[in-house]
Symmetry: C2
């Protein structure tokens, strides 16, 4: 209940940071500020905001500080969506035109920039100014990591690994960098803000296991919906990595097994975090488990190719 | 002397912030970190770093804090160059291939993102943690303003103003937003760091007058080097704005007069800033004055079209 109230506060805070001190030219131009608002208006699951709010309140932060962390992380995530959609040429995002498709690539580049900058400014609203510097430094670490992961993912569609084991390890490194960075950040910022830095590595491990499971679920869905395993037009698909050693059905099964293993790890690790700050991440992991588990029955119903 | 030593410290600090905690995937990929380093390796005038260092030392900051401000502002400026070059499809930057042309558009988008994030992280090195929040909030204001200006500039090539006076006012608003934002930021951050916020509006006025003069000088050069006044393929050229009311030679003369007026204003205003913090901006303004003044004689030598 408390969290559902706070989610609307997160939206309001994101918009406030994006609109801060709009200059005169921005009022005459359908530029980045308008595009950012358009992008946010489509909603989304706000997984990272939910994780931050739950974790923040569980760790004893006041609602305002939990909201600040939620808004900052969600702004970064949306920066990555706007820029990723340009890079992947995805025309749709959350059921509406992607920013680049609606406002053009140039405005979309500026929009992502505005989101990143707004994320840092949002953290400055924290009550406790002493923790600001370590939180910003950690945020930069995670942004850099996400950038590393995105660059590697964009290039790996062309990469060839002779060794499947190495290819799978590399796939997981990319998922950890690309998605794990902004999934562990809400937990990590809460730990810093609440004076519990000792638990940082544990929080990160839980989020990283979840990120690999999440990426595998996404890849399995791509393969089922458009048979992209063979082509891998953009990025690196786990099914095509396994496919070096067998049929699509077999490689989907291997992918599914690896995904479940990582998700179970995420459930276990998030349950061990202090003050139940990992409870919401655990909930998401259990939901994801059902999705990934479901791919088995569909395969069995559909037969082996 | 002191400043020339510190400039190499600025370079080192920029690289350190860009390399912070490189993840394993980044070591296997020619990604954003490599592209950022490549971009910085071409050098450049580092005008904003010079302004920050001079102003910082004049205002009594220690060398470390002046260097931090210089590096943070220069990182933002280089973010804008990398993303602007994508948007303008400029293939060359400082005598070498632009990042997008060398590493591809996708990596160049990530590279600008990394620069922005690194700028915020750099400020966290400041000795005095109490001033961090206001400095970051101001930085976000200026980044937002630069984004507004860039969006407006990208769109104004298609804009038609029936009224030349309005068109010229709009041109100046764009220059103030696009270039003024990151030219006033080094002075403004120094004022915040040294506890002199009362002078912020004065510093901003001086930098904004300089920015308009700077943009006009740039436009005059574009017109002389490739006769772009009539086409204005990208952005908004002051000569084409004035041309609505006369010949190219006449509109260049009008542009030159406006440019000199703004530069003289920048010289006067920067001279009035406290502790001589505007001295370096004043030096740049005087150099720019000679350049803009020079367009008259070239016009006279070349005749009127």
């Amino acid at each position: 209940m408390q969290v559902s109230v706070a989610l609307s506060d997160v939206e309001a805070m994101m918009l406030a940071s994006l609109r801060a001190n709009a200059s005169e030219v921005s009022r005459k131009t359908a530029g980045a500020r308008e595009a950012a608002q358009y992008h946010l208006s489509a909603g989304g699951q706000r997984i990272r905001a939910n994780i931050a709010l739950h974790a923040g309140l569980s760790a004893g932060l006041n609602a305002a500080d939990a909201t600040i962390i939620a808004a900052a992380v969600e702004l970064l995530h949306n920066a990555s969506l706007v820029h990723d959609d340009i890079q992947d040429r995805d025309e749709l995002r959350r059921g509406q035109q992607a920013v680049w498709s609606r406002f053009g690539v140039n405005t979309a580049i500026c929009t992502g920039d505005l989101f990143i900058s707004a994320a840092y400014a949002t953290l400055c609203r924290l009550d406790n100014a002493r923790v600001l510097a370590p939180m910003i430094l950690l945020m930069h670490e995670r942004v850099s990591m996400a950038v590393d992961g995105q660059c590697a993912d964009l290039q790996e569609s062309a990469a060839i690994f002779s060794d499947t084991k190495k290819a799978i390890a590399h796939y997981q490194q990319i998922a950890v960098a690309k998605s794990g960075a902004l999934l562990s950040l809400p937990l990590e910022l809460v730990l810093l803000a609440s004076g519990q830095p000792d638990y940082l590595p544990q929080a990160r491990s839980a989020a990283e296991a979840f990120a690999i499971g999440y990426q595998i679920a996404d890849d399995l869905q791509d393969v089922q919906s458009d048979g992209r395993a063979g082509t891998a037009a953009v990025g690196y698909n786990i099914v095509s990595v396994f496919k070096a050693t067998g049929t699509t059905a077999l490689s989907m099964e291997k992918a599914r097994t690896l995904g479940l293993e990582k998700i179970d790890l995420a459930i276990a690790l998030s349950g061990r975090l202090p003050f139940s700050i990992g409870a919401r991440l655990g909930d998401y992991a259990r939901q994801l488990r059902d999705v990934v588990d479901g791919y088995k029955s569909e395969e069995q119903i559909g037969g082996n190719e």
